[in-house]
Symmetry: C2
Subunit: 148 residues, 2 copies
Amino acid sequence: MKNDGKNRLETMIGKLKGNGYKITPQRLAILKILSTSIGHPSVEKIYEQVKKNFPTISRATVYKNILVIKDLGEVLELAFSNDSNRYDGHLPHPHPHAICTECKKIVDSELEILKDFTQKVREETGFRIYDHRIDFFGLCPDCQKNKE
Amino acid sequence: MKNDGKNRLETMIGKLKGNGYKITPQRLAILKILSTSIGHPSVEKIYEQVKKNFPTISRATVYKNILVIKDLGEVLELAFSNDSNRYDGHLPHPHPHAICTECKKIVDSELEILKDFTQKVREETGFRIYDHRIDFFGLCPDCQKNKE
DNA sequence: TCTTAAATAATAATGATTATCTTTTATTTG
DNA sequence: CAAATAAAAGATAATCATTATTATTTAAGA
Ligand SMILES: [Mn+2]
Ligand SMILES: [Mn+2]
Ligand SMILES: [Zn+2]
Ligand SMILES: [Zn+2]
């Protein structure tokens, strides 16, 4: 692991301060969840979590904080057509995901072969490529077992 | 090309009839657009196009028809977070796309390397994979020129 | 401590898509 | 061909995640 939760949190806080943002208790709580979660939480999940310590927090606060952190490049947003957005503050740079259509689990994937793939698409289409969104849908190991 | 517009249209009509759906003039017009378009049109684009011959058509009709055709597996839906959905009735099975962030052009990609990639994700995550959504974002050749 | 710009919280607005309901029509049957 | 009917069209309302607005509160620097 290049970045554990602590380092990610430090990075986020540093970036916010460096850009003149204030560190509020609510903001810090959101940052902590984003930096340590590997499960790609939704706004609702984050909201419910923060609510435990800040019972009056508004959903809008969660949305706005995520927007700020996203614009600073410190969280990756995964938007879906039906389900609501999911966030990765642990690995904020674009990477492939495996998504379980049963339990909605989202698992990171990091494969060298992606570079070759991207290069081939570049050659095939003539595009100058600088971003990607790669989702594989299927059944996670747990849900495969439960289907037996 | 395995399927030209004509064959795709025949396939779609056959599938609809085979499943007890009626062939209305409006539905046929939508099918024609979906089967021949290689530009991944939006609902709005389809609506505007059909409107030329059927001035009273409703957006709801376009939406409902696309839903039917999608459920029959004859059109691929590409949903986005900000922009509205785009549809591919020419190549209805999942395949990668190159998307221009400038002019919103969407170009098909079909590469053998995808099979290797999928296999590697399978091994890496333990998922049983049966679908994917792969988008590469960047600048198309035209928009690269216009930036010079 | 005082000042002030930024953040929070509550609430309204947005916009693409879906649902509902009435009218119209494609297809089947006699 | 005419009648019957289930499906489709068209109009409009509802949905729901997200964004915008606005009044109130607060973090952080002087
Ligand atoms: Mn991730
Ligand atoms: Mn396509
Ligand atoms: Zn699962
Ligand atoms: Zn372009």
